[in-house]
């Protein structure tokens, strides 16, 4: 169990532990690594590399692998990383946001602390994961499930080979039903990618406000153990 942590018995929402978790949750290395790896992947694929390019596809696959590992960790990892420690509860999230705003507005009440994500953070985590999973899955649909190596081979043909061979490969993929749904997948992929960035910006703002209200930097435990 993480330092300063209390057992969790509830199933509907993280239980607050006022005044008992002065340091907040201690995130294990896998949570910290996956958090920043996802951040780097999103920034790279959204801002830096060319959509549909080899790097974009490689990073998309890496993102899918990171999500898979993190989801498995949600079942077998330490208590603060488990899904049962931060089940989504929109009503608790709203209550937490109201308490946060009251605190920031000068109210002297003590803001509840949680052994894992607070209820607002929990809702944000699930929303981000849902959008990231959607981006990854629609990316797979758009590429017909082609691996990054296959994508690189296709790009090599585009740059130096005979394009008619691509038509043949695409017709074969269509016959197998792999190419179906490319248009809708592209639309959903773009909308979900935009939503990921919007949610990430709200997440950053939330962390800044919560840090201010609690009087400690919440980014630090996501960077190092103590």
């Amino acid at each position: 169990m993480a330092q300063g942590q209390t057992p969790l018995g509830g199933r509907s929402a993280p239980r607050p532990a006022i005044g008992r978790l002065a340091g907040g949750p201690v995130w294990d290395p896998l949570v910290r690594l996956s958090h920043w790896a996802v951040a780097v992947a999103v920034l790279s694929n959204y801002l830096l590399n060319r959509a549909g390019g080899t790097w974009h596809v490689w990073i998309g696959w890496a993102l899918l692998a990171i999500l898979a590992v993190r989801f498995a960790w949600g079942f077998v990892g330490p208590q603060e990383a488990r899904f049962t420690s931060f089940l989504p509860n929109p009503f608790a999230a709203l209550r937490h946001i109201k308490a946060l705003l009251r605190k920031l507005g000068g109210n002297r009440e003590t803001l509840p602390e949680y052994p894992s994500h607070n209820p607002a953070g929990a809702v944000m985590v699930y929303a981000l994961w849902a959008m990231l999973a959607l981006v990854s899955i629609t990316g797979l649909v758009m590429t017909g499930g082609a691996s990054p190596v296959q994508m690189a081979q296709q790009q090599a043909i585009v740059e130096t080979g005979d394009w008619t061979t691509l038509v043949q490969a695409e017709e074969e993929a269509d016959e197998e039903g792999k190419g179906a749904g490319g248009a809708w997948a592209k639309e959903v992929h773009e909308v979900a990618a935009n939503l990921v960035v919007i949610l990430a910006l709200i997440h950053v703002a939330g962390v800044a406000l919560e840090s201010r209200a609690l009087g400690r930097n919440l980014v630090r435990p996501m960077l190092r153990k103590s």
Partner: protein, 86 residues
């Protein structure tokens, strides 16, 4: 002489801009042929990529405006020409 040249250049400029690839032009079914054909039509290719069953050629005209030229990989014909900024 300079003035005459300048006036001639100004008159010809719009026509030069029109010498871009247009839908229906056959530019080839490989990068080398398509690059040569697009350059001949006034658009210097910077990249090719496959997109939605087409080949997208990114090219720059003499005014340094970037265009996306979509090519049917089966026939080598231009199917769409788009301003990259739009």
């Amino acid at each position: 002489m300079k003035k005459t040249f300048l006036i001639a250049a100004m008159i010809c400029a719009p026509f030069a801009a029109m010498a871009m690839p247009v839908v229906g032009d056959v530019v080839g079914t490989n990068a080398a042929d398509a690059t040569a054909a697009l350059v001949a039509k006034g658009c210097a290719v910077t990249a090719f990529e496959a997109e939605d069953g087409s080949i997208e050629a990114q090219c720059t005209d003499e005014a340094m405006k970037v265009w996306e030229v979509y090519i049917d990989p089966k026939t080598g014909a231009v199917t769409e020409v788009k301003d990259e900024a739009e």
